[in-house]
Every structure is written in C-alpha cells, then in structure tokens.
C-alpha cells in the first residue's frame, strides 16, 4: 500500500508492506535513525515518537497506521543547527551518556512539558516512566527537565523550591 505522511514537517510518500512497523519505516526507509529500537515490544520507550500530537511507541505502530499522520522525531528537535531548550538542558546536566534512550526520552519530555509546563519531580518520573535509561540512573534527566522547565536556580546542582532532595 502507498502511504503519505509528514515527518518533522517534510512530506513523504512511500510504498510499504503491511507488516512494516513505523519504527523500521522511519529508520530504514526514511533514514531517521535517531529513533532507536530497544525491546521492540513497548517496554523501553527508545522508539518513542510523537504522532498527531501524542507520544507513541513506534515499534508497536504499523507504518500503514501512520498514513496521513504528522510524525515528529528527535531529528526535528534542533532547528537551524541550534539545540532546543530541552536538548541544551540535557547537555548541561549530563543527562546523556550512551545516548541510546535519549531520542525517545526527549520526545516524552517534550510532550510532558507541553501538557504540564512546570512538572514536579513526581510528575517528571511519571512522564518518563515509559522510557528506560540504563546509564544515567535518571537523576541527571530529572534535573535536566527541572532546568528546561525553569525550575532550577543558577549553576549546576542548584535547586529552587528544594525539590531535588525527593528525587
């Protein structure tokens, strides 16, 4: 079947087979390899993309189901060579180690901050519970999200509102 969809603002029309997942389609047919496959079964969130405004695990979506959809991936996060606020915060707080989870993690964080611009530590944990990170221990990611949402003071490790102790 032929599908047409938008990815990060660009329009793509391709012929796809019924059993191709959106994840494989993005990576192998369109070359958006920032979206990763970890488990392939909905557990790890490395494949998270935003489809029609909602985060989804692209390993559990068929490419055909994305016909007509608007898909956003990590490749659309920086614009004109400039990192987004979230990416800069991840960089500042060392919230990226191997980076395998980062593409999906940032999609979930972007969606969380869209729904809830000033999440508490507990809300951040819930927002990223579908995204596993095996490197950072999450602490740096939570700090980065607090920072990206303007909830940290000046300098690394500085906390406004004393939230980080509970992290």
């Amino acid at each position: 079947m032929r599908i047409t969809l938008k990815v990060n603002g660009g329009t793509y029309t391709r012929e796809v087979e019924g059993h191709r997942t959106l994840l494989r389609f993005l990576r192998e047919d369109l070359g958006f390899t920032g979206t990763k496959e970890g488990c392939g079964a909905g557990e790890c969130g490395a494949c998270t993309v935003i489809m029609d405004g909602k985060t989804v695990n692209s390993c559990m979506v068929l490419a055909l189901e994305a016909d007509g959809a608007n898909v956003e991936t990590i490749e659309g996060e920086a614009s004109a060579g400039k990192l987004s606020v979230i990416q800069e915060a991840f960089d500042r707080h060392h919230a990226v180690q191997c980076g395998y989870c980062t593409g999906g993690m940032i999609m979930s964080v972007r969606d969380l901050l869209h729904r809830n611009p000033k999440p508490s530590v507990e809300e951040i944990k819930e927002g990223i519970e579908g995204n596993f990170c095996r490197c950072t221990g999450y602490q740096q990611i939570i700090e980065a999200v607090l920072d990206a949402s303007g909830q940290l003071g000046e300098g690394p490790g500085q906390v406004r509102e004393g939230r980080l102790e509970h992290a």
């Binding site: 909905g42 969130g45 559990m60 068929l62 579908g130």
Partner: protein
C-alpha cells in the same frame, strides 16, 4: 520483524462485519496494537489478515448518556477514558485502574476494549468493569448480543467472543455512577509493570464488590458483601473465589497474602 500479513482498513461497520465473516480465525482485529503487534512479533499470533478498526466511521467512541450509562467504543484509548469528564465525575474506579495500566505512551494507544478482549488474568481494566457491573455489547453480521462482564471471560486469554464477532461497545450502567472505589496493584517497581496481583474495591449504597486480577485464570468478581459486614467476610469470599498460582513473579502464598492486605487497606480507605 513481523511475519507477512494482509492489512485491511474498513471504513464502515458493515464492511468490518463482512471481513470478519469471510476470514474468521485467520483474521485479527487491530485496535491500539499493544497486545496484537507484540504477539505477532513473538510468534504467538499469526493472523493472515489484520483488520485495523480505527478508521471505521460508524462505531461508537466514548460518551456519557445518563439514560444509558457510560458508553466506551472500540477506539477509546485508556488515556481518552482517563481524560473524559464523566469518568472523572462518576466512575473514579475506572480512572484508578486505567492510571495503573502500562506507561503514558502505551496508554495513548492501548484501548479499554482491547484490554478486555485480550483477557489476560492481569488485565487492569477488568477489575473496574466487573465491579461496576459493565456490559459488553458484541456484534457481528448475524446481529448483536449483550454479555455482562461477569460472564465474558472464560479462561486465560479466552472470552465468549466468536471468530466473526467484535466487542462493539462497553456500557457502564448509570446505576453504578457515583460508586466509590479504589485499586491496589502489586508490581515489582514503582513505574510501569504488569501486576503481580491487583484488587479493586467498590462501595455503593451499602453494597461492596471486589474485582481481582492475577489471582485466577480470569479476572474475578466477588459479590454478596455489604458495607455492614466485617472485613473478614470479604477476605474469606475473595479466598474462595480465587486460585492464585506460583510463577516467575511470585509464589501462590505471597499472592494470597497480598490480596488480603489489599482488601483490608481498601476496606478502610474507600469511605
């Protein structure tokens, strides 16, 4: 990798019924895909044709009609149900259970109907629907029939649905609106995880119902308890209605123990 299958995207209920009548066992309905695509990937399910129902125009979505109740259609995702004002106002137990199901992005795709049709013993939506006296309305080319959820599950991953039937809508009756309730789910971690055991407790007009997951081949409904009874009666009724097993995740004894702990906590908590 997924095996090769044909993909169909019917636009009407009649087309959907026709496809199911024609393909029977070889067909699988695709709603959110969070069970089906995982099962296909690991070879548990091998449909020749996958029928995506998300573009069917004339199937119900989610609506609150005080004359009938809360109607949940096949497309309604867990997050859509959680966000619905009527669920928030009248059926807090549905929110409690829905909130405990998987992760945020899985809940964006996973449907309530897919969850009950999948009929896992650890389904998180089943305990709420059982307690609330929900009814499944099942349809096919041959017509419609109603099945109360207390009769819907027949075994591990088995339901009363026949090969040509769809679960067209769930009706949570108005009589259950305003029921108080809560759900406790034991899992290994605080984040998203399948339940090791789960207990929902509902109280309405003096009557108490329990919905228990992961404690028998099917989710279990325990009825015939009143608010004026001692909690021991609920504990005993739950013990005779369930038959937990030991498996990878915990022992039979631990499940039995936690069911009792949860019932006692909920009994005090749900006022």
């Amino acid at each position: 990798m997924l095996h090769e299958f044909e993909y169909a995207r019917p636009a009407t209920r009649a087309e959907l019924h026709e496809l199911l009548a024609r393909h029977g066992k070889a067909a699988k309905i695709l709603a959110g895909g969070t069970d089906l695509l995982v099962n296909i990937r690991c070879g548990v399910s091998k449909p020749a044709i996958v029928i995506d129902i998300k573009k069917v125009r004339d199937l119900p979505v989610i609506a609150w009609n005080p004359k009938v109740g809360l109607v949940i259609g096949p497309g309604a995702t867990i997050n859509e149900v959680l966000a619905h004002p009527a669920v928030h106002d009248h059926f807090p137990l549905l929110s409690e259970c829905g909130h405990d199901l998987a992760s945020y992005q899985v809940r964006n795709r996973a449907t309530v109907i897919g969850n009950v049709v999948n009929a896992s013993p650890c389904s998180d939506m089943a305990p709420a629907l059982l307690c609330l006296g929900a009814i499944a309305i099942v349809s096919s080319k041959r017509g419609e029939r109603e099945v109360p959820f207390s009769e819907f599950f027949t075994g591990v991953k088995k339901t009363v649905l026949l090969d040509d039937e769809i679960l067209e809508r769930i009706v949570v009756p108005t009589a259950s609106a305003g029921a108080r309730g809560s759900y406790h789910k034991l899992k290994r971690i605080n984040g998203h995880d399948l339940g090791i055991v789960g207990v929902a407790l509902m109280k309405k007009e003096g009557v108490v119902a329990l919905g228990i997951s992961s404690a028998a081949p099917t989710p279990v409904l325990v009825e015939g308890i009143r608010e004026t009874d001692a909690v021991e009666k609920a504990v005993a009724a739950a013990r005779s209605a369930t038959s937990p097993i030991s498996d990878l995740r915990c022992s039979k004894e631990y499940r039995e123990f936690m069911i009792e702990v949860f019932i006692r906590r909920l009994w005090a908590e749900v006022k």
